[in-house]
Symmetry: C2
């Protein structure tokens, strides 16, 4: 399956596209950072983000979209912009008719490094290793987006297994 | 000028459409409350909001859109959803090619009641009086959205006067 991961932000929004199946990561298809300037008009910044994300969804045709969840306790100066950007990111997936899943930062970190409190450097190092890249993705914002896509592929695996188990159990009861 | 005011929210998003010119309020054209349920999928809720707002913009053809600004110190449990809804609201105006302005809650309250700390009841009472309505708009969420539109019409007036004054001053200097 192909997943488009989004690390939402107004000034920098990371996007990573990864192919893979649960248990076996495939390859990094592409990554991007969508930028806008803090002194630009807010409406223009959101419109630019919406158009860029929709274009990337149309270009890469993912089967699902994964977005990092934003929390109120983040940097208070920028958290409202980040939350608005996350709304636009989720909408971009929904408007394309795709399933959209959100993950907490610690779920994403745990998925790629084994620890929910790993730092950015560790996440970048593991993304580079897991996808067998020649060099770490630059800028670092892109590595986070790629990690979100990896998290979704692996969590999708867990979910698929749980659903299969539930189905088998339900069939068992019907016998 | 016709203004579409939006009081952003995920569970209830107020929309008020008002005609008027700076210094003279015209009439209430329409008001709506767009709803979604907290247990619905977030992507579906944002998509529903986007579609409903875009449909209202297309129906009422406002010249500008005014949106209430969201702050991090609001109710922490719902503030992220409200911020995401505000991103969708601003985007709906921008996608239609309209100018979008944001106002703080105290700017809106001060514009309709004279006090930046007025309560919801006072705002509803003044909206009803200023627009010469037979009854207060129901539900109250709609009154806030109408107040935002009124605020924009009046502030637009101030701005237009300031711009005219600046133009006259600039002409004076050129003589």
């Amino acid at each position: 399956m192909r997943v488009l991961g989004i690390d939402p932000g107004l000034t920098r929004c990371g996007v990573g596209v990864v192919d893979g199946v649960p248990g076996r990561l495939g390859r990094l298809v592409a990554y991007h950072v969508i930028r806008s300037e803090p002194d630009e008009d807010l409406a223009d910044r959101l419109l630019n983000l919406d158009r860029s994300l929709s274009a990337l969804v149309a270009e890469h045709k993912p089967e699902s979209v994964a977005v990092e969840r934003v929390f109120a306790q983040h940097n208070a100066r920028t958290v409202m912009g980040t939350a608005q950007a996350s709304g636009i990111a989720i909408l971009a997936g929904a408007r394309a008719g795709l399933p959209v899943q959100t993950y907490t930062p610690s779920e994403v970190k745990a998925a790629v490094t084994g620890s929910g409190t790993a730092d950015k450097k560790q996440v970048t190092a593991m993304v580079t290793r897991l996808l067998k890249l020649d060099a770490p993705p630059k800028p670092a914002d892109a590595a986070d987006a790629i990690a979100i896509a990896i998290c979704h592929i692996w969590r999708g695996g867990t979910r698929a297994k749980l659903e299969a188990a539930a189905l088998v159990a339900a069939r068992g009861r019907r016998r």
